[in-house]
Amino acid sequence: MGEGRPGLGLEHRPTLSQGDRLDEAARALDGMRKGLGGAPFAGLAGLALNPFADAAFGEYGGQQAFTSFARAWDEEIEVLAGALRQIRGKIGDGVALNTHTDHGVRSALHGIGRPAEHRR
């Protein structure tokens, strides 16, 4: 998903499966993060880099407020993309588990509300 692209086309591709739609949405969020300056720095743990800090926003509160805002929403985008991928993962499981009993499905899907992976 490049910056400035007018649309994702998510609404215009009725043949997409639910899983595909979620995948595309998560990828769009990844692209959005990059466009806003967040994602490229995500892997540089330990470096004291803050991609949202510069001196462009003035000295009367705008700079600090923007830095906090950009950080908080960068994290929010990351969490939302992660959640969409988790749902997508469960949808894949669901298709494979169609022949199982309801009880079996419930057990397999239990992890939707539980930590199957740790992001931090």
């Binding site: 998903m1 910056e3 400035g4 649309g7 994702l8 998510l10 609404e11 639910q18 739609r21 979620l22 595309e24 949405a25 769009a28 969020l29 692209g31 959005m32 466009g35 806003l36 510069d54 462009a56 926003f57 003035g58 000295e59 009367y60 705008g62 700079q63 407020a65 923007f66 906090s68 805002f69 908080a72 929403w73 994290e75 929010e76 990351e78 969490v79 939302l80 993309a81 992660g82 959640a83 969409l84 988790q86 749902i87 469960k90 949808i91 669901g94 169609n98 309801d102 499905v105 419930r106 899907l109 239990h110 992890g111 939707i112 509300g113 539980r114 930590p115 740790h118 992001r119 931090r120």
Partner: protein, 524 residues
């Protein structure tokens, strides 16, 4: 006005005063004047005055980036909404399916909120860019005028020989320059203050990321942050404040393995995202597992009844029909027909009790049901009123002696004991008797309520007996107030600062004079 703005304007005032004090007597030729040299020095100092910082182009570029991001988030929201609307495969129907469906719906709402917030951010950043640009232009005009003033005087030490008429014209040009410099400060400061207020509010609305626990998946975060109390817009009535989300995450990571397993069972059994959110709020409020288990047992039969949960666990909701008009006291706070309204001179004690209930669902359940949900002997308006009066008296009895009302120090003490103990904050009494003091306190008030920490304050008219109310929210230059006369209302920040917020109390207590500001305590 910010401290920096005040310093800068004071500096300009000093320069202006010195310029205006100068008297020029030079007659030209060799008949010079020492005042001319002072004038030259003052003009130089004014030329060194710092320009408003910032890059309008960079800020405008960020505004454009957030505008594009808003469009993307909007499409993401529509795509995820389509997944949620179409429903999940039939095999998902059941307990687990319902949870997956909750996540999908919450994710769609999260993306839709993101689109809205990024749109707002784009608008605010564009305004900031415009403000910085205008401020820098005004500063530039000021420098032009000052350079003109300097150019009127002969270079260097030769300024000494300028005639009085020339020096007078140079001073006038310099004063014009100072006015532009001051105007630049005013515009830059106003733009920065607005950006700070609006961006801070938007920051507080990025909530899912605040729940930072190794025990929570991204899906959990999205669902829990999304859970709203019944009766109003979800986005304005989140069950878990940002402070709750942070404290709950920390507490989760510190539970013993046994407690963690017991807590997981409670979460797994919850019938709705709202029930889970209240369990998290009880954890955030600092209760031990046996208390939380008892709380869970009592609310679980009503876990799929959001209206019941709200009425018993969240006294105050911002309803959709709230006009937000100053003086409108129609938003009554009630339980089963009984108002959360003080009886006697107990505004401090009673508003503290209400805020305790608003921030602590275990306490709220005890007040509304006496620990017996569904039992009409206990879970009724009449029984609630009895318990409410007992709590009002208990807190009121914390004052010294048997005087009428409670003072600021006593207000601070009970705020710490009843509210701070459950929101992880330490209240500090601050006197705000001047307009400037109230204006200075506004950012801290906004921060606190954005984090779900109520801010009690005393208001009065002249030297009359005062009244305590509580700031519980803020939005677009307005403050939401809980008045222990039994209702919520809104006042403009301007009226709060000017001491003209009589609309909250039928004109009886218009001027805030002291506030209880919560400060975050380190987690034990």
């Amino acid at each position: 006005m910010t401290a920096l703005g005040r310093r800068r304007k004071d500096h300009l005032d000093t320069l202006r005063g010195k310029l205006e004090e100068l008297e020029f007597h030079g007659k030209g030729g060799f008949d010079g004047d020492e005042s001319n040299l002072v004038l030259t020095r003052l003009i130089k100092q004014a030329l060194d005055f710092p320009a408003p910082e910032g890059s309008p182009d960079e800020v405008a570029a960020k505004a454009a980036a957030y505008r594009r991001a808003a469009a993307v988030a909007d499409e993401v929201g529509a795509g995820v909404r389509a997944v949620a609307t179409a429903g999940l495969p039939a095999t998902w129907i059941g307990e687990a399916g319902s949870k997956a469906s909750d996540v999908t719906k919450a994710a769609a709402r999260n993306a839709e909120q993101m689109a809205e917030k990024f749109g707002t951010a784009a608008r605010e950043l564009a305004l900031l860019a415009e403000g910085i640009d205008t401020a820098q232009s005004k500063h530039g005009f000021g420098l032009d005028a000052l350079r003109t003033a300097r150019g009127m005087l002969p270079d260097g030490g030769n300024a000494f020989f300028a005639p009085a008429e020339t020096a007078g014209r140079a001073r006038q040009a310099a004063l014009d320059g100072l006015r532009y410099l001051e105007s630049g400060v005013t515009v830059a400061e106003a733009a920065g203050e607005r950006a700070e207020r609006e961006l801070d509010k938007l920051t507080s609305e990025a909530r899912a990321g605040r729940l930072d626990s190794r025990h929570m998946t991204d899906a959990d975060r999205i669902v829990l942050a999304d859970a709203g109390a019944w009766g109003g817009d979800r986005a304005e009535n989140e069950i878990l404040s940002t402070g709750d989300l942070e404290r709950a995450g920390l507490r989760l990571d510190r539970l013993s393995a046994g407690d963690r397993a017991a807590y997981d069972k409670l979460l797994d059994a919850a019938k709705s995202p709202q029930e889970r959110a209240y369990l998290m709020k009880a954890l955030a409020a600092g209760y031990p597992m046996p208390t939380i288990t008892d709380f869970a047992r009592k609310i679980h039969p009503y876990g799929d009844r959001p209206a019941w949960l709200q009425q018993h666990l969240t006294p105050i909701v911002t309803r959709r029909d709230d006009s937000r008009v100053s003086g409108d006291s129609s938003q009554t706070v009630t339980f089963d027909g009984r108002e959360w309204e003080q009886e006697g001179n107990t505004c401090v004690a009673f508003s503290t009790v209400t805020m305790h209930a608003q921030t602590d669902p275990v306490y709220a359940l005890e007040l509304t049901t006496g620990g017996h949900p569904g039992d009409p002997e206990h879970d009724s308006g009449a029984a609630f009123e009895e318990r409410l009066r007992a709590e009002e008296s208990r807190v009121y009895a914390r004052r010294e002696g048997d005087k009428e009302g409670m003072n600021g120090a006593e207000g601070e003490m009970v705020a710490d004991e009843e509210i701070g103990a459950h929101t992880g904050t330490d209240y500090e009494l601050r006197f705000v008797e001047s307009e400037q003091a109230r204006k200075d306190a506004l950012p801290a008030i906004r921060d606190a309520v954005n984090n779900g920490q109520p801010v009690p304050f005393g208001a009065r008219k002249d030297d009359q007996f005062g009244h305590q109310m509580v700031v519980i929210g803020q939005d677009g230059g307005k403050l939401q107030i809980y008045n222990p006369w039994g209702y919520t209302t809104w006042v403009s920040e301007e009226d709060f600062v000017n001491g003209t917020m009589g609309g909250a109390t039928d004109g009886r207590h218009p001027t805030p004079t002291d506030i209880q500001l919560p400060k975050q305590k380190p987690q034990p």
